[in-house]
Symmetry: C2
Subunit: 279 residues, 2 copies
């Protein structure tokens, strides 16, 4: 297997090594521990151009000039410490955020104070698109580890989107994708067993790591079992048992949050009879 050629992505949390080769400019995390730090335009010449994630979060077809306009409105590289919030449910909606490094979970809280995890977001993915039709965020977003995000002020973005058709088009696509993925989660939850749900999550993570040129078969779960269970509608105990079962059958190797997928095809086969898995 050629997996060994991938750069490892299982360092301890918050380690910026992950991105050091990807961001040629100095906007990776270590510069400041201050969670409120922002790269104000000009000071740190961070650029969407040189960001390796731009193929994920930016429209491919955008021109050089368009990108500078985007950079003008995007506040890049805000650092979020583990456990800190990017935004909270019910607070005024102002911006979407692109994850630049680390990992984010979104969740809502019921009247009884019970938490429901609604999603996990990795670098290159965008948070907040479910809040665009209201004045307030419809979920909270919290960093699962030390992370950094780029803020996209929405009113300015909307204006820009009317001026740059490809930008509008791209954003429509991103939102459409979000709808589709949420649909897929619904399907997963409505029809599938615990094992299938977890297989699906593992494959989803695998795919997303792969997109970022990281190993699709060996990675660190950014979230605790608790959050996995919450997200997939399973009890923590069930999650734990399924991991154990998977390990015993040789499908995967787990060591805490470190996961190695030993048989990717077999994992995919588990979802064969489904319409679609998570993405």
């Amino acid at each position: 297997m050629s997996d060994n050629n991938y750069s490892t992505n299982n360092q301890h949390q918050g380690n910026d090594k992950l991105f050091s080769t990807e961001n040629s400019t100095q906007n990776s995390e270590p510069v400041s521990q201050n969670s409120d730090k922002r790269c104000s335009k000009g000071l740190l010449p961070s650029s969407c151009n040189t960001c390796s994630l731009s193929n994920l979060c930016l429209p491919i077809a955008v021109t050089q000039n368009d990108i500078s306009q985007l950079e003008d409105i995007i506040k890049q590289g805000k650092i979020i410490d583990r456990g800190e919030h990017i935004f909270s449910e019910h607070t005024p909606f102002r911006s979407c955020f692109a994850v630049r490094s680390g990992s984010i979970k979104t969740y809502v809280v019921s009247e009884e104070g019970e938490e429901q995890v609604t999603g996990f977001y990795l670098p290159g993915e965008i948070i907040g698109m479910d809040s665009m039709n209201t004045d307030a965020y419809s979920c909270s977003a919290k960093a699962l580890e030390k992370s950094s995000v780029c803020e996209i002020p929405f009113d300015r973005f909307e204006t820009l989107a009317t001026q740059i058709p490809t930008l509008q088009h791209h954003f429509f696509q991103l939102m459409s994708k979000e709808i589709k993925e949420s649909r897929q989660l619904s399907m997963l939850l409505s029809k599938n067993t615990a094992e299938e749900r977890i297989a699906s999550l593992l494959l989803s993570l695998s795919e997303r790591f792969k997109r970022r040129k990281l190993s699709p078969t060996q990675f660190r779960l950014p979230m605790p079992r608790n959050d996995i269970g919450n997200y997939l509608g399973l009890a923590v105990e069930t999650v734990s048992r399924v991991f154990t079962r998977f390990q015993k059958s040789g499908l995967i190797t787990v060591q805490g949050r470190e996961v190695t997928i030993n048989d990717l095809d077999k994992l995919k086969d588990m979802l064969k009879h489904q319409t679609k898995c998570l993405s």
Copy 2:
């Protein structure tokens, strides 16, 4: 209760009476039974202006002039017979559709040919937004009863949206809402019992009928139990049993697909401890 003042919405399927008072111009269904019929511009001067649903599917703030531009690109009042498709999964994505009358279900089919219902759409709601990021529809849409839809060719719509900011804004909102609702479905499926799921669906329908000035407490279910179960991740038998239980407890009265909600508050209370119900 003043519910009796609502116009009834439980006639047999395909009856256009539902909309005869709402569309002052002659674009309601009976004109032609040809399912391929389209109101070509000019022939039938159907208008988004006079459509009672425009407050649901059109941006509020759009001006008179904007509406005419919209009307130029929208093909209005296409008739779909019960069981007919509006579009099929994997066929080229060209248009979104606004439901004008009747009801539509969307679904995907797994490799084994198993169907998974992904949504129910009522007048004023828009189908196809989950396909905008691909060249092909990501689900199929089929009429649950005789229905009519307005076709929104997407490429022309995108162009128009760049010219009319409020239109773009409105569409962002619609898509955001779609994401949110799908999220809510996921949550419903991941945490709630059969009873809660069905209560949530009933409330969702109730709310949507109410928006259309129809009775929120007395309506006809547009879909069979089978589809309800499929959508909510329950066996048909479970759906049936829950309806029976609800009836026995006096919460609702069911007679086939006719439903009367006797205690709306109690129904809502069932979802009290949740983050949110369907919408």
